[in-house]
């Protein structure tokens, strides 16, 4: 068998290995191929200051994140998957994890009702009415959750609702590693 005849076979095996690897990641690894890697991982959280949801008196700004490991969650009352992950946020809040909310393009009364009915896991919430601060965070899907370290750097981003698996395999280990 001459070497040149083996070339197409080698190319086929190589391609099959690459495709197989990605297929494995999607099927067994729980990787979502629509997720776009964040450009902001390990970068400082953006500078912003958001007013509270109308009728509340907190608001949320970059300075709130100083000196602790916290979760920043982008949510809205109109966002169905936000309701799916809500119990998990409540559980984390009960455990003492600081969670901050960015309420995106919501009606104040809807947002308030959402919190009244389901509970409020957030230490502070800012209303991002024109989506501008969410753009600064590189948000494109809802919900999105970031882990910010003590130094104010973004260390992890979850696109879509946090599922129990994400909590156990990603979020808890990262919180632990960062020493929350």
């Amino acid at each position: 068998m001459r070497l040149s005849y083996m070339l197409p076979v080698a190319a086929f095996v190589g391609l099959a290995a690459v495709f197989g690897f990605y297929l494995y990641q999607v099927s067994a690894g729980g990787k979502n191929i629509r997720d776009i890697p964040s450009a902001l991982i390990d970068k400082p959280a953006p500078e912003f200051s958001l007013a509270p949801i109308e009728g509340r008196n907190d608001g949320f700004a970059t300075s709130d994140l100083a000196g602790k490991v916290s979760l920043v969650n982008v949510f809205a009352s109109w966002c169905l998957p936000c309701r799916v992950e809500h119990p998990i946020l409540m559980r984390l809040a009960d455990e003492g994890v600081p969670i901050f909310g960015i309420n995106i393009r919501d009606k104040p009364e809807d947002a308030r009702r959402f919190l009244d009915q389901l509970g409020n896991p957030y230490r502070r919430i800012g209303a991002d009415n024109n989506g501008r601060v969410s753009i600064d965070w590189g948000v494109y899907g809802y919900p999105e959750t970031f882990i910010v370290d003590r130094g104010g750097r973004i260390r992890y981003k979850k696109i879509g609702p946090i599922m129990p698996r994400d909590l156990d395999e990603k979020i808890r280990p990262i919180l632990e590693r960062l020493g929350s």
Binding site: A39, I135, Y140
Partner: protein, 158 residues
């Protein structure tokens, strides 16, 4: 027939004008030059919610917010490059519908041409070898071979 040609011509002329479905009248800038630049930038930015549409084509909320943002920054006097950089810092290169040329994308940009060249080289080598083999078949006979043929022919005659 003439009517048909006229109708086709009208379609060709009007088709580009029908392209701006998503851009709402309230978003359009007064300065036509600035608006043209905004449209140009928007066509190159991916709507990340829909992923295969530009923000110029998409009706998604995020696409609208980004269109408004692009126009605000242009009005503030930024260059096209600065506006695009502002968006890329936040969303990464993936937001660009045309991937930028840089070391990590060399394979993407030059891979197909490299495969074409390698394939072409392989075909040329294959053809050369084949002609060389065909040529060697018509090489002059050695003295030994000539004597053998003569002997065979002689056998036939007798």
């Amino acid at each position: 027939m003439r009517l048909l040609v006229a109708a086709l011509a009208a379609c060709l002329v009007l088709a580009p004008l029908a392209g701006s479905r998503a851009v709402e009248p309230s978003e359009i800038l007064d300065d036509p030059a600035l608006e043209a630049r905004a449209r140009d930038i928007s066509k190159g930015l991916r709507c990340l919610v829909c992923q295969n549409q530009s923000i110029d084509d998409s009706n998604a909320d995020l696409a609208r917010d980004l269109r408004v943002l692009v126009r605000e920054r242009l009005t503030a006097g930024e260059s096209n490059r600065q506006v695009i950089a502002f968006v890329t810092v936040r969303y990464g290169d993936y937001v660009l519908l045309e991937p930028p040329l840089k070391p990590t994308t060399y394979l993407l940009w030059f891979g197909p041409a490299a495969i074409l060249l390698a394939g072409g080289a392989a075909v040329i080598m294959f053809l050369r070898r084949r002609t060389r083999l065909a040529m060697s078949g018509s090489a002059p006979l050695s003295d030994d071979e000539r004597r053998r043929i003569e002997r065979l022919l002689d056998d036939d005659v007798h």
